[in-house]
Amino acid sequence: MKQHTTPRDITAAPEFRLFLIAALVFGLMSVLSPDRFLSSQNLTSMAFQFPEFAILALAMAITMMTGGIDLSVVGVANLSAVVAALILTHFSDPSMPASQSAVWLCVAIAVAMAIGAVAGLLNGALVAFFGLPPILATLGSGLVFTGFAIAMTGGSAVMGFPATVALIGNAQVLGVPVPLILFALLACILHLLLTRTAFGLRVTMYGANPLAALYAAIDINRMLLKVYVIAGMFSSVAGLIIMSRANSAKADYGSSYLLLAVLIAVLGGVNPYGGYGRVIGVVLAVLSMQFLSSGLNMLQVSNFARELIWGVLLILVMVINTHAITALRRSAKPAS
């Protein structure tokens, strides 16, 4: 028999540490550059900036919870955006009345989402039915998706959209930027999916122990397909936001977002081996990153230094988490 104390204590949760980091960064930046960092202009511009990669991070997080990874998120985002952009430029033009172009926008969005779903289905099938390691399956499929986007556009940007397209990326509803609303919506949906549905429980359980999931008669293939489809569709949303904000679509937009998405998911406490991850953690990680980026920007620190700081942050958090986990394991080691 052994003693065990369940970690009920909220301060022991990795999310709490993240909350502290986010608050700390926010506080630090507010102190270092109070008039600019806390200005409503800066707060709004932050709210426009982060949703696109935050949504990609959510997509990454759900695949990581199954012990997988999705390296094709940026490829899917760009392919969806390029196809949507081609539809918009072919069938509508900037001079079209808003009511008419809105219809084409809806069509473009629907097609983009469908592409995300099909791409996800392909990834899921490669992982579930063909048994490819997710990292290779999505590395290969990511190249294929990006490749299609290149082949369709010849590698150049697609532009010349009707003004309605700006709705997705640049508009505000009651003062809240639309991308932020989309992100909040998707984060809530994902949170509900993961914590309150049978599917979410299956994802967690499979991530915790794939073999036991098989023995528990979980339909693993179906579950994996759903996971990658969700990741694909989330990527499409991100792609549409990127397209709207850039007012163009290109096969190689947001290429730095791939590593950023992995980084945020891991920073957010998602276990890259599967079995643990919370949406709130990812949200807090995104916020920390954004506060840090903006703040550093205010302090005239170059983009490159930001990359450096992100990397340091990632490794630091891993060292802390891993050592917290080993300490936990040591105390929970069964006496045998």
């Binding site: 003693q3 036991a212 006496a335």
Partner: protein
């Protein structure tokens, strides 16, 4: 009791080991003479693995002194221990699947000789000599991943021999072997003893233990409870020492006369695995399936639950056919399967009891997409009470429970589905003796409630205590269909192994 320690190869004095407040070993003395075969017996959790880890330098002792070959060792790690001639053959053999037989055998030797360069000729010589010493023939260039289990074990033994082992520790060496292979292993062990190599045999298989060892040491709850020449022990006294009590087992109650057939299995066949498996299971019947490891018993169990797709044959529950090779279909037909390896197959250790139980009920509990967590929690805690699980509450992670309680959680998952047929593979493997009796009670109780139960086990007393009928498997076939009441343990053991 123990022999003169001046000449002992291993001499442990007052060894205590604590893990985070849990005492795994409590002031244990343990000696082994050169050329002696000692059996270390004990139930799971008795501390025998911990003792082995300390001798082999994997874990440091919290207190106590260690002498190896007369020299006191205050610092011990696997390398020092190996250099002194202590070789452990773990249950999983610890081989390199991607390397050749020759390299697997000679790797440790070459490391200990501080070789910098790899010479394939020398590698083969070392391997060849070791294989010759025990008189076996294995292709030196074969990759180890392609070898059958018995040959892997021989490779592991040869590796120990090649490294000038003076003490070989074998952890549960016979679990995967046929009787013929066990006999060969026993003769190899006798030969090693003649050459002055000491052997520690860690096992819970009592008959084998007594056959090859000269001395027996029994651990229980981290304490040494008995020690003496092997000839002073018999199966019964060993059981008594290992468990600390005589556990009376109630034989199962009779199947209600004229009980109808619940499950029909016809001509289930899978190439290279099992063939022509045909049997009926009645309502409220406990059917045992036994056989050595590799006899096909586990494959059949998996096939019944759809985890292995048979080439041909049918399964029907209540007269309705169940699609084979599909665990979801089996689960739909209310067949439940509690796997043998609780830790890797049966449970989600890091997850809560609630999740572990609820995962069996997901399809019936999602109300318009959303789970009714309150309801699931209520149900899970009901099962905790019914099965007498000792746990703080349903949110405790399963890894915080003891083996017996973990097994009950695994049972609860399937019981909450109100199964018609419950397949239990090794229901009491790694469970302490009190829980074992409880689990047997649970099995008998469930049967009286009309559930058909299939117990797959090589624990003969367990089968005799729970089963109405016992099927014996060998080489993938059912060779005997015995009445659980009239068969004796010796008879069963004989049929199993012959």
């Amino acid at each position: 009791m123990s022999s003169d320690c001046g000449s002992a190869f291993i001499d442990l004095r007052a060894i205590t080991k604590r893990y985070a407040g849990v005492t795994a070993l409590d002031c244990v003395d343990f000696t082994v003479q050169p050329g002696e075969a000692v059996c270390l017996a004990g139930e799971n959790g008795s501390g025998k693995s911990t003792l082995i880890k300390i001798i082999s330098g994997v874990e440091p002792a919290t207190e106590g002194t260690i002498h190896i070959a007369g020299e006191e060792r205050t610092v011990l790690n696997p390398r020092i221990s190996a250099a002194a001639g202590v070789m452990v053959i773990f249950q999983d053999f610890s081989l390199f699947p991607n390397l050749s037989v020759a390299e697997n055998i000679s790797f440790a030797t070459q490391l200990s000789q501080h070789e910098r360069f790899y010479k394939s000729g020398a590698t083969r010589d070392i391997a060849r000599k070791a294989l010759d010493r025990i008189g076996v023939e294995i292709d030196l260039d074969a990759r180890v991943e392609a070898l059958p289990v018995a040959q892997k074990q021989l490779v592991a033994i040869c590796r120990a021999l090649a490294s000038q082992a003076r003490l070989i520790i074998m952890d549960e060496p016979t679990t995967a072997l046929t009787e013929k292979e066990v006999r060969r292993l026993q003769s190899i062990i006798r030969m090693l003893k003649d050459e002055g190599v000491a052997v520690i045999f860690v096992s819970h298989k009592l008959a084998e233990v007594l056959e090859v060892s000269e001395r027996v040491v029994v651990l229980r709850n981290g304490k040494k409870v008995a020690e003496g020449p092997a000839k002073d022990f018999d199966t019964q006294s060993l059981t008594y020492h290992m468990t600390g009590r005589d556990v009376p087992e109630v034989p199962p109650s009779d199947v209600t006369a004229g009980a109808e057939t619940l499950m029909q299995v016809k001509r289930l066949t899978k190439a290279d695995s099992f063939s022509d498996i045909t049997f009926d299971l009645k309502v409220g019947e406990v059917l045992g399936i036994t056989g050595l490891l590799g006899s096909g018993r586990t494959s059949v169990a998996k096939a019944l639950f759809g985890l292995v797709a048979p080439d041909e044959g049918t399964i029907a529950v209540d007269g309705k056919p169940v699609p084979t090779g599909d665990p979801q279909a089996a689960s739909q037909a209310r067949i439940g399967y509690v796997p043998e390896d609780r830790l890797t197959e049966g449970l989600f250790l890091s997850q809560s009891i609630l999740h572990n139980v609820a995962v069996g009920r997901l399809d019936t509990h999602s109300n318009r997409g959303l789970l009714d967590m309150g309801n699931l929690a209520g149900e899970a805690s009901e099962w905790l009470t019914k099965l007498k699980v000792k746990a703080p509450d349903v949110h405790a992670p399963v890894q915080s429970l003891s083996g017996g309680n973990q097994q009950r959680v695994a049972l609860a998952r399937w019981l909450s589905r109100a199964p018609r047929v419950l397949i239990l593979n090794g229901p009491s493997v790694g469970v302490d003796v009190g829980s074992k009796a409880d689990i047997h009670d649970i099995i008998r109780n469930l049967a009286t409630q009309g559930i058909g139960i299939i117990v797959i086990s090589d624990d003969l007393p367990e089968l005799l205590a729970t089963c109405h009928r016992i099927l014996v498997m060998r080489d993938g076939k059912i060779i005997d269909n015995l009445d659980g009441k009239s068969v004796t343990e010796d008879d069963l053991a004989h049929r199993l192994a012959s």
